[in-house]
Amino acid sequence: MAYVSMGEAHRRITEYLNRFCDAVSDQDSLTLCRLLSFSSNSPPLLSLADALNVFQDASSLIGKSDKFSEYGEILAHLFRSLQSYRVGNLVEAYLAFDKFANAFVQEFRNWESAWALEALYVVCYEIRILAEKADKELTSNGKSPEKLKAAGSLLMKVFGVLAGKGPKRVGALYVTCQLFKTYFKLGTVNLCRSVIRSIETARIFDFEEFPTRDKVTYMYYTGRLEVFNENFPAADTKLSYALQYCDPKKERNIRMILKYLIPVKLSIGIIPKDELLQKYNLHEYINIVQALRKGDLRLLRHALQEHEDRFLRSGVYLVLEKLELQVYQRLMKKIYIIQKLSDPARAHQLKLEVIAKALRWLEIDMDLDEVECIMTILIYKNLVKGYLAHKSKVVVLSKQDPFPKLNGKPVGS
């Protein structure tokens, strides 16, 4: 840290104060954003932080001028937070920033127009990031992390400020997305419900009027929620929306969306092209898609096992596991086709023995009872048309379309 003289520190602080107050009085949102954006680690902010550490009595400086003291509370907390942030005391920094954010939101509430929305976004973003960092620090010290939770309630408060009528309403979706991120991180996704409700039931503001950025994020998260609920059609709609509007240049975002969209599409019988998987580096799905194409149950199981941790963490494991039935269907279809080639007259009769043999070739050992059970399920779920004659251990396939396609509908519907 470069040595900063007292005079230099005084100058820097005064300059910052001047810029802050000017930005507020000029309603210059961009400048204000720059002044608040901690995580950008911009040189002016860092030098200000150094100056604050030298010149300890910044609050007296704020109090000196009427111009500054109008925002005295905001600035004092901000300075303290910046100071702590600079020296690496993240918990302290968070606590001070929390106070700052509260004061700022209070001030924001008083501003009639929504000029400072961008600045508010920055505050929301910063508090979430700071809380995550503070939690990391707390965990490493063996304490229970709770700051993100606190940040969540602060964000909820901000949401309350924005969710009403008026021009500020536009900002609600951004805060919602920050809340989603917080809740998904905390694992308390059920808390999303209330926010979603207030967004989706609001009649005073059309969803399409929100910024695209926020809409995509919102759709991504709500789509993920639908994946958890295994509501595949809804998940498909939302994630497709997100994919459609997502900036094509943001490959990372597209990849994130596809990570969920692909399992959803697979579940409703739509198989992606390999190029897509290659392009967005979604290798974990390559084998799964392959297994579905070939009816290779073994491959599916291997693929699932291989990426189990990843799938579990992202929450698609159960969805992918359910693809097994489709793989069985494909396998039966293959057997049927082969039988048709050799003996077209009796092709529609699948012996359980034959199926068991086919599975054995795939190194999957099943006795007839199990095979029968699988066939029962397949027929029940309408993946196979026909019936199972228990006595003769034969599956009698329907002559017409024995293996119906899902055509965008989930299994069993």
Binding site: G187, V189, F228, N229, E230, D309, L312, R313, G315, Y317, L318, E321, K322, E324, L325, D369, E370, E372, C373, I374, M375, T376, I377, L378, I379, Y380, Y387, L388, A389, H390, K391, V396
Partner: protein, 982 residues
């Protein structure tokens, strides 16, 4: 928590008031303590209070403003707890506000009343009986102290105040007449006799004088028998109105209890007063307002009356030497005694008859000598007649609603004070009628026996459990009396302190007098009692029993002093009182819990309209509760604990007593012990309430008992009842090896857990205990308890304490898979499993089960079910039904034309238990039973084998309602199970 907190904070204040009441100024003192409590209890109900006062004063009480104020304040302690406790209750009542107002032209503030009601509803569950009771008693005390001097100005107003609670609920017209009567200066017209002033008044005025004549036992009882009907009927007419307008839900419960207890007590009062008439200038009005007062007090908690015998306020009362009030005390023993007579006719030996006959004699001869001090003795003599009053009144009841309540009310009374039931009425009447006869004929030495000796004899008999005992008791009594007569000490000896052990030859009767006789009477079916879970423990812990007598001694501390000083005390009275008095108190919370809370819920549907069905309904429900509650209460151990709990409320009172009155130095040792014990309890109790210094509360247990029942702590843990770690370890082993049922084990483990918690033990033992409990819970299918244990285990494991982590990881995975159906939870729990964990057999099994369940693979599921390690199968058990249903649905949809039932039995795990051929066939039967129960259509083929007709079944399958399903969702919460479980 809330409730407990409230009652605790209020209680010291209450006792404050008691202290203050020593200055006799009735109304003034009444108000001040409660205002005091207002301050401490917060604003929420302060407003209510003010409202009430304003309303009451404005509307009703102009004639005597200060008095209503006190009556008003009376209600407020309740209000406080109600409003600050749960909002729900208050809301329920407020829902009825319009109803009340319409029926109450006077516009009495409904809030006040609702709160009043909800107030005690609130408190009953929280077991704070002594508190409200104290409050009511307190107000009672000054009034009667007023009456004693014979100041008429006081009486009407007081009865008025007491009346008011009832009045509000009855029609307004009634009230107006009441008050006009009062204001007209018609004191003789009395408060109670509002509707039939002339008749009842006439009766009553005549009554005392009849009584007054020494030989009037006959006339008195007959007169009493005729008069009360009128009066009481009227009374009951008020009651239905009262209940119908107010909160019916609690009414059934309240109605029953207070009604019964009130009879037994209010009447004695009347009798007592009549006897006192000469002393108190023979003012009939005074005396008769009293019974009424009692009646109107009925809306108070059911235990109120019995509590009166126990509560500290009464002790204070004694200090005033109010004869009227004193009448309470003898009553329970008397009833007790009489019930013996009635329930066991054999008991009516000539000796007995003689004995009772001497009483009136005694009274008449002695009353002039000991006037006031004798107060509590005299009523005993009048009780017979009093009882007849009660009886006749009961018979005359016309109101069907009330009448429907009554039988059970009486059975209850049988139980709780073993007084006469409605069915026993004739016997009762005849007994009282035959008194004079016995007096004249069967009296060899009438009046020569000192009063105290009679009491002694009576006590001795009261303790006899059966006829054999009675016979032996009688023999030894005869011997003692003969001896005493021979050596001339019969008149000098202090029979009151004569140990009964000389009479009763067995030790059991000595140590268990407080619990045994009554409990046997209480239980309608004594056979049920051994079933009680508590029973064996009581026997295994004889050391508790003395403690119970100690604590009851403490309760009556003030009274004891008084008695001892006056040489009028009798130990048996005290004890019997303690028993009869305390039991209702303690049992009431239990029954009240049910009877009060549930009706409240129901009330939402019924809209507050009272219907007979409802009251009788809850009647039925209550009776079993009650009896089981009784059996609980009767166990000495239980009583001890309850005593110590209730002691919190008497603490300050006890102190003041000690300050005001010199401790009797020569009081018997047990009593001294009791006092000391009481102090200890006081200290610990108060600490728990005021400052929660958890470090200080981390006790180091000293209890060496391995077995201990679970009771949720309501005060600071007592180190002497907490087991140290090594004992807990033994206790755990004991439970593990115990052959007893799950309820017992669960109880024991809970107490072990509690001891661990209060000692803040967090180590391998903690893990072991929770693991053991979780396993037992799984075995018994008690998922609630299992979940509790599992959440604790998660904490324990997270602290790095070794345990069967993998086993429980498997359980938790299975639980989520099979019961919670939450994908997110399942995912996170799966992702938490480490690589090593996945190698564990149990965990692997759980994972396979999960896969089988998600894919619906029933074959795999039932195979896994058969091979489940640990207790995995217990968790799977609970899913078997669903899985079978799923499987049959699948198959009937997919398979054609039929499936043999034998195949189903094999695949669906019906033939799972063993591989023997016999079992296989068993599985067949079971399976076809199951299939039929689920609507499957079965046919038989040419070989006679059962087949499932899939096509027919595919549309007819259904999931039957579980047979043991109950509306409240917990089939374990059976009426009788309730008490054994909690």
């Amino acid at each position: 928590m809330n409730q407990g907190g409230n009652t605790q904070t209020v209680s010291p204040l209450d006792s404050n008031s008691i202290e203050k009441r020593y200055g006799v100024d009735g109304s003034q003192v009444q108000t001040s303590p409660y205002q005091y409590s207002t301050g401490s209890d917060g604003a929420s109900w302060t407003t209510h209070r003010v409202d009430n006062q304003v309303a009451q004063n404005g509307n009703y009480y102009h004639p005597q403003p200060p008095v209503p104020a006190t009556g008003n304040v009376q209600e407020i302690p309740n209000t406080s707890s109600a409003t600050s406790g749960t909002v729900n209750v208050a809301q329920d009542y407020s829902g009825y506000t319009p109803y009340q107002t319409s029926s109450d032209p006077q516009g009495y503030s409904n809030t006040g009343y609702t709160n009043y009601y909800s107030g005690y509803q609130q408190q009953q569950p929280s077991q704070s009986y002594p508190q409200p009771v104290g409050a009511y008693q307190n107000t009672g005390a000054p009034y009667s102290s007023f009456q004693n001097p014979g100041s008429y100005a006081g009486t009407p107003s007081y009865s008025g105040t007491y009346y008011n609670p009832a009045d509000y609920q009855t029609n307004g017209g009634y009230q107006t007449t009441n008050y006009s009567n009062q204001t007209a200066g018609g004191y003789p017209s009395t408060n109670y006799s509002n509707q039939t002033p002339t008749s009842s008044q006439g009766n009553y005025t005549s009554n005392p004088y009849q009584n007054y004549t020494p030989d009037a036992a006959n006339t008195h009882s007959s007169a009493a028998a005729t008069t009360p009907p009128v009066q009481y009927q009227q009374n009951y007419q008020q009651w239905p109105g009262y209940y119908s307008q107010t909160e019916v839900p609690c009414a059934p419960g309240t109605e029953k209890l207070p009604a019964t207890s009130a009879f037994s007590q209010s009447f004695p009062v009347a009798g007592g007063v009549t006897n006192e008439m000469p002393a108190s200038n023979g003012q009939p009005v005074t005396s008769y307002t009293q019974p009424w007062r009692q009646e109107t007090e009925l809306p108070q908690p059911p235990s109120q009356q019995p509590a009166a015998a126990v509560s500290a306020s009464n002790d204070a009362y004694w200090m005033h030497q109010t004869p009227n009030q004193q009448a309470y005390y003898p009553v329970p023993p008397q009833n007790q005694y009489q019930s013996h007579l009635e329930t066991k006719p054999l008991y009516e030996t000539p000796f007995q008859g003689h004995q009772r006959a001497t009483y009136p004699q005694e009274l008449n001869s002695q009353s002039s000598i000991h006037q006031a001090p004798l107060g509590y003795r005299q009523p005993t003599q009048t009780t017979p007649s009093v009882d007849t009053q009660r009886v006749s009144k009961v018979q005359i009841l016309t109101n069907p609603r009330i009448a429907s309540n009554f039988p059970s009310g009486y059975t209850k009374m049988d139980k709780d004070r073993s007084a006469a039931g409605a069915t026993q009425t004739p016997a009762y009447v005849s007994v009282s009628m035959s008194n004079p006869k016995g007096h004249t004929t069967a009296m060899p030495e009438p009046g020569t026996f000192p009063k105290s000796l009679c009491g002694f004899v009576e006590r001795a008999f009261a303790r006899c459990k059966d006829d054999k005992e009675k016979a032996s008791c009688q023999a030894s009594l005869k011997k003692i009396i003969t001896e005493a007569t021979n050596d001339g000490t019969i008149n000098t000896r202090d029979w009151d302190i004569e140990p009964l052990s000389t009479v009763l030859n067995t030790d059991v009767t000595n140590t268990e007098p407080s619990s045994a006789p009554i409990s046997s009477l209480q239980n309608k079916s004594p056979t049920r009692r051994p079933k009680s879970r508590w029973e064996p423990l009581v026997e295994s812990k004889p050391f508790v029993k003395p403690a119970s007598t100690f604590s009851s001694g403490v309760k009556f501390g003030g009274w004891n002093h008084h008695n001892v000083n006056n040489k009028k005390s009798s130990e048996s009275y005290q004890k019997v009182d303690a028993v009869t008095g305390s039991k209702p108190i303690y049992s009431a919370p239990n029954s009240a819990k049910k009877s009060f809370q549930r009706p409240v819920k129901r009330q939402r549907f019924t809209g507050g309209a009272i219907d007979d069905e409802e009251s009788s309904d809850s009647e039925k429900e209550l009776t079993p509760y009650y009896s089981s509650a009784m059996s609980l209460a009767s166990s000495a151990d239980e009583k001890k604990r309850r005593d110590s709990r209730s002691k919190r409320f008497e603490k300050v009172q006890g102190h003041s007593q000690r300050n005001d009155i010199p401790k009797p130095k020569n009081a018997n040792v047990r009593r001294g012990n009791a006092l000391r014990l009481g102090e200890d309890f006081d200290e610990s109790g108060s600490r728990a309430v005021e400052d929660m210094d958890w470090d200080a509360l981390t006790v180091k247990g000293t209890c060496q008992e391995i077995e201990k029942r679970y009771l949720r702590l309501t005060s600071a843990p007592d180190p002497s009842s907490v087991r140290p770690e090594d004992v807990l370890e033994k206790a755990l082993l004991m439970v593990q090896d115990s052959p007893k049922n799950y309820l017992y084990k669960c109880d024991q483990l809970k107490s072990i857990r509690q001891d661990l918690t209060v000692q803040r033990i967090h180590n391998h033992l903690t893990a072991k205990v929770y693991e053991t409990h979780a396993r037992f819970a799984l075995e018994a299918g008690d998922l609630t308890e299992y979940n509790q244990c599992l959440s604790q285990l998660k904490i324990v494991y997270a602290e790095g304490i070794e345990g069967c982590t993998l086993e429980f990881a498997a359980y938790s995975l299975l639980y989520i898979t099979l019961h919670s159906n939450n994908n997110r939870e399942l995912l996170s729990s799966m992702s938490r499993l480490s690589r090593e964990a996945k190698k564990d057999e149990a965990v692997r099994h759980a994972i396979s089960v999960r896969a089988a369940v998600t894919s619906g693979n029933y074959v795999t599921f039932f195979r896994l079910y058969k091979t489940a390690p640990n207790m995995n199968s217990c968790l799977m058990d609970l899913y078997v039904e669903k899985m079978r249903y799923k499987a049959v649905t699948f198959m009937s949809r997919s398979c054609r034309p039929t499936i043999p039932v034998s195949y189903l039995a094999q695949v669906l795990g019906f033939a799972c238990t063993s591989s023997e051929g016999e079992k296989e066939t068993d599985g067949m039967e079971e399976c076809s039973e199951w299939l039929k129960a689920h609507g499957a259509s079965l046919i038989a083929d040419s070989n006679g084998d059962m087949l499932l007709d899939t096509k027919a079944s595919s549309t007819s399958l259904f999931m039957p309602e579980p047979e043991d399903a109950v509306a409240h969702g917990d089939r374990y919460l059976d009426v009788n199970d309730f008490f054994t479980r909690t």
